[in-house]
């Protein structure tokens, strides 16, 4: 009994120290699984992991949870477990933040596009990430998201946009494998950014310490900062 108490005490203190260290330095430590994800019904932040086409929302498993835990660093809010949601589910309209990732090409149905149209016009936010710098997913994402609004097309988000300053001040993020800056892309609705996509394996960077995308895309430090900025932007704009 005493041993159990001792262990829980050590874990509790270690958690606090590590959280503080991560927040202050944003070190490259892979140990970021220190969040508060739970099934608490009072939790105010929850994320919908999108199931689409043949993708069951399991690419890079754990990435959704890691995103949730990352958000918990920026807030004292309680975090709920991720929800798997299809774009045709009624639950879509109870999930103000959607996350989608994958490796492959996909096509959205007309019903899914119609629902996304309403979802965005009602204030929903969509974050997408291509896995492992595979070009098929971002290409499909651009194509399909260009179909949502007739007058709005996916376009690069310049570095003077608020999303790069919503939590951390990010001047630029260098690509690890090419001599260029990482470029977030977004879809706007009535001047408001409603969907963001990064083609450079952002999810691999903030979740898997880039081990699946080694030497390519975004560094884990930059990936965590960029992802946190996207989440905070979604919560505040």
């Amino acid at each position: 009994m005493k041993a159990k108490l001792f262990i829980s005490c050590v874990i509790e203190h270690a958690t606090g120290v590590l959280l503080l260290a991560v927040l202050l330095t944003m070190s490259s430590s892979p140990i970021i699984a220190l969040g508060q994800a739970s099934d608490d019904k009072h939790a105010t932040f929850f994320m919908g992991r999108v199931r689409y086409s043949a993708n069951d929302g399991n690419d890079c498993s754990g990435v959704g949870q890691d995103l949730m835990k990352l958000v918990s660093r920026a807030s004292t809010l309680k975090i709920q477990e991720e929800r798997k949601v299809r774009l045709t589910d009624p639950d879509l309209y109870e999930t103000p933040f959607l996350f989608m990732n994958g490796h492959n090409d996909f096509v959205l149905t007309e019903a899914e596009l119609a629902n996304l149209r309403i979802y965005f016009s009602h204030g929903g936010f969509f974050f997408a990430s291509g896995c492992c710098t595979n070009p098929n997913f971002p290409r499909a994402w651009r194509r399909e998201f260009n179909r949502i609004f007739t007058n709005e097309k996916v376009k690069p988000i310049p570095y003077d946009h608020l999303i790069y300053r919503s939590f951390y001040n990010i001047d630029h993020v260098r690509c690890l494998n090419e001599p260029r800056d990482i470029q977030l892309e977004g879809l706007f609705y009535q001047g408001n950014l409603v969907a963001v996509m990064c083609e450079d394996g952002l999810c691999c960077a903030f979740s898997a310490n880039n081990t699946c995308n080694d030497g390519k895309g975004v560094s884990p430090e930059d990936g965590q900062k960029l992802t946190l900025n996207i989440a905070v932007y979604a919560l505040t704009h």
Binding site: T44, P96, H122, G123
Partner: protein, 742 residues
């Protein structure tokens, strides 16, 4: 006149027993002393008389007189309503004609048979005596109904009060200034009021333009709504009619309105955008359809809007953690250039996140500890906070922000933060609800619907859709799942929304409420995830956005002006002295400002000065003045500071409202109340099948009143009794002295 003596304390007669004993003892002593019988009798008689009087007084005698049966000198006062509502036609005849026929053909013969005389009077807002010819020739077109005044006049017009006051009326009284006088007269004279109600309980078809609302100040090149509140009553199928918007007397928009069926109230809006700064008078005119028996209560209403690029309204949103509500409320305000949302969020125990601050140093150290730092904000939202997130000093600053600076405070919470932990805190004192002591309640996450109260449905904040009743719009909100339980609204608070099914100690659980606190306003929203409304698939985000903009404007406007201009009269109409009260509010710019000299001016719509004076104003000491409003129109009261800079203005619209058609249904309740306070009678005319029965019932009431009417006068407590007692005892003493007994 019959009279009787009663004793309020009959046991007082028991005092006679020891007194009789004392008399017997003195008789025995006198016999023993050898007095003659005649001498003893004289002494005992004198002393006994005095003792008897004392015992009589100890029993507290009262002289009660009752009035005699009705004498020929007293008549019955009959009041016939000649106000315009009596001209309304139902079943092809007007209420007035029906009342005259009832009087002439049934009531008068019945009174004649009972040998009772009638004193007839016609009344509207005035009263005048009328003979038979005048009764039949009168046209019912009085602008007001002052039933109280008529009753008082009927009782006080002659030296002898009438046996009863009978009113033939529809009961739709709309003047109450003389009600107290009438109540006193009825009570003192002991006269029963008999009300006979004419007309239908449903009323006739009416259409009315009730009010016109617009924001008091709008920036240039910004669209705003001018909303006209319309009402139709008892109209099954009205054709479309026109509504026109005038700006400074020129028509700028016109629309055709389909009113729908049944009795209801709804809003029609005009969208307006102004390019230049200035002040404009907007008038909405209703053109009612030309239909038989459709009465128009009011067709014209005005409002004034100041177009100025004034400083934006700042809202400070303080959060214990980032929440979705903040995002969605921010979205609601995004397209309104006059409202700026500033966020202050706790991200860890030691860290805060600021958004939309105006300077690098603003709110740098978290929530302010001084009131000066809050002075640039007009509304503060507290969301997802626990009491420990604010120190007592910070809570005190919040209370002062609301009570002294006239700011608005909105507290948003849910089951995790809205609980008994707030009990006894400084912040709880200013909120409109009492927190529930129970914690850990299960089931607060079950879906529920929000239900608006009648107060909220009439409130401008909740008018979120044009051309649709507020009740319909709000009933279509999605379900919510998280709410904090509060026990009750505080006295003086206004409940806006309640839970659909959850009952608390004083009724349905409150979800939204507000109350005045000092110069400001506080409100609560106990739903955690109100954002679900905007996200819901079938919702209209613009309605959500409009609600929040209107709520923040409402919360910010309360103490906004440096000098508050209040109207003391509830009802305004032409040819009246408008009573105005001025009260200095704390200045958010400089809370230590002590200047007290102000200039006040009242003008009519042609800028003619009606009143002008210099006043000394200080907080909590209002100063009253009045001006005469002769004609309908928009009057303006403006207050300037000592440098002649305007600090407050208020437009006051005086309308020629047709009060007689505002509520056309027969109001038996009014008649019942008058009857109830005078032990009288209120009957519908259709229930008076036999006038003789009615007269009998009236006379029965008169007799009951007579029986109950007694004059009580204490008996014996006067100089005569005193002299008699002293005389008897003094005479007895003199005799005893003469006979050598003392």
């Amino acid at each position: 006149m019959t009279a009787v003596i009663t004793f309020e304390f009959p046991l007082g007669w028991l005092a006679a027993i020891p007194l009789a004993g004392a008399l017997a003892l003195s008789f025995w002593q006198h016999r023993k002393a050898g007095l003659q019988k005649s001498e003893i009798v004289r002494l005992i008689l004198l002393r006994g008389t005095a003792f008897l009087l004392l015992a009589f007084l100890a029993a507290r005698p009262v002289w009660i007189t009752k009035e005699p049966r009705s004498s020929a000198a007293r008549s019955i006062a009959l009041l016939l309503d000649r106000s315009e509502s009596m001209a309304l036609e139902e079943s092809d005849t007007s209420r007035f004609k029906r009342a005259v026929d009832f009087l002439r053909e049934r009531l008068l013969p019945a009174f004649k048979s009972a040998n009772l005389t009638i004193q007839a009077m016609l009344f509207d807002k005035n009263v005048e005596a009328a003979d038979g010819a005048k009764l039949t020739s009168t046209e019912p077109k009085g602008e007001r109904t002052n039933l109280g005044g008529a009753i008082a006049q009927a009782i006080g017009s002659s030296s002898q009060p009438p046996l009863a006051v009978i009113a033939l009326t529809d009961g739709a009284a709309n003047e109450s200034a003389d009600n107290t006088r009438a109540l006193t007269a009825l009570s003192e004279a002991g006269v029963p009021f008999i009300g006979v109600g004419f007309g239908s309980d449903q009323g006739v078809r009416t259409i009315s333009l009730r009010t016109v609302d617009a924001p008091p100040a709008v920036p240039t090149k910004t669209a705003f709504s001018i909303s006209a509140q319309l009402e139709i009553m008892n109209a099954d199928d009205l054709p479309a009619f026109d509504l026109a918007l005038f700006r400074d007397g020129q028509v700028i928009q016109k629309k055709s309105v389909a009113p729908g069926k049944g009795s209801h109230m709804w809003l029609e809006s005009f969208q307006v955008t102004e390019e230049k700064q200035g002040e404009h008078n907007y008038t909405v005119q209703l053109f009612p359809p030309n239909l038989l028996n459709l009465k128009c209560v009011n067709a014209l209403a005005n409002t004034t809007v100041r177009i100025a690029d004034e400083k934006e309204l700042r809202v400070l949103y303080v959060q214990g953690a980032l929440t979705w509500d903040y995002k969605f409320i921010g979205m609601a305000l995004r397209n309104d250039p006059t409202i700026k949302l500033t966020g202050l969020t706790r991200t860890s125990k030691q860290a805060i996140f600021r958004q939309n601050v105006e300077t690098a140093g603003e709110l740098l150290n978290g929530f302010p500890n001084s009131i000066e730092e809050l002075a640039s904000f007009r509304v503060i939202v507290l969301s997802n906070l626990r009491p420990t997130d604010l120190t007592s000093a910070q809570q005190d600053v919040l209370a002062r922000f609301c009570s002294e600076l006239g700011g608005g405070i909105l507290m948003i919470g849910g089951p995790a933060t809205f609980d008994s932990s707030w009990q006894g805190s400084r912040l709880e004192q200013l909120l409109p609800v009492v927190f529930s002591a129970a914690t850990g309640v299960q089931g607060l996450d079950r879906p529920f619907h929000l239900q608006l109260t009648d107060d909220a449905l009439q409130h401008p904040v909740f008018q979120i859709a044009d051309n649709r009743p507020a009740r319909d719009v709000w009933s279509q909100l999605p379900t919510f799942t998280q709410y904090g339980r509060v026990d009750a609204a505080k006295p003086g608070a206004q409940t806006w929304a309640v839970h659909q099914t959850d009952d608390g100690p004083t009724g349905r659980r409150i979800l939204m409420a507000s109350q005045h606190y000092g110069a400001g306003l506080s409100a609560v929203l106990t739903i955690q995830n109100f954002w679900r409304w905007r996200m819901a698939k079938d919702s209209e985000p613009l309605q959500f956005d409009r609600f929040w903009r209107q709520l923040f404007r409402f919360l910010s406007e309360v103490g906004r002006q440096e000098v508050a201009i209040h109207l003391l009269d509830q009802e305004l109409h032409p040819e009246m002295d408008v009573q105005v009260s001025l009260e200095k509010q704390p200045s958010p710019k400089n809370i230590t400002d002590t200047s007290r000299k102000f200039f006040v001016r009242a003008e009519d719509s042609q800028k003619n000065v009606l009143h002008e004076e210099t006043v000394e104003l200080e907080q909590l000491h209002p100063v009253d003045f009045k001006f005469h409003a002769g004609k309908p129109g928009v009057y303006t009261v403006a207050v300037c500071d000592s440098l002649k800079v305007p600090v407050s203005t208020r437009a006051i619209e005086i309308r020629n409202l047709n009060m007689e058609f505002q509520d056309t249904a027969r109001n038996m309740e009014t008649l019942r109340q008058w009857a109830s306070v005078s032990d009288g009678l209120a009957v519908k005319v259709e229930d008076c099948r036999d006038a003789a029965d009615l007269v009998r019932a009236i006379m029965s009431k008169v007799e009951t009143q007579r029986q109950n009417r007694q004059h009580r006068r204490p008996l014996g407590t006067n100089v005569v009794t005193f002299v008699l007692v002293v005389g008897c005892l003094g005479g007895e003493w003199l005799l005893r002295k003469r006979w050598g007994l003392v």
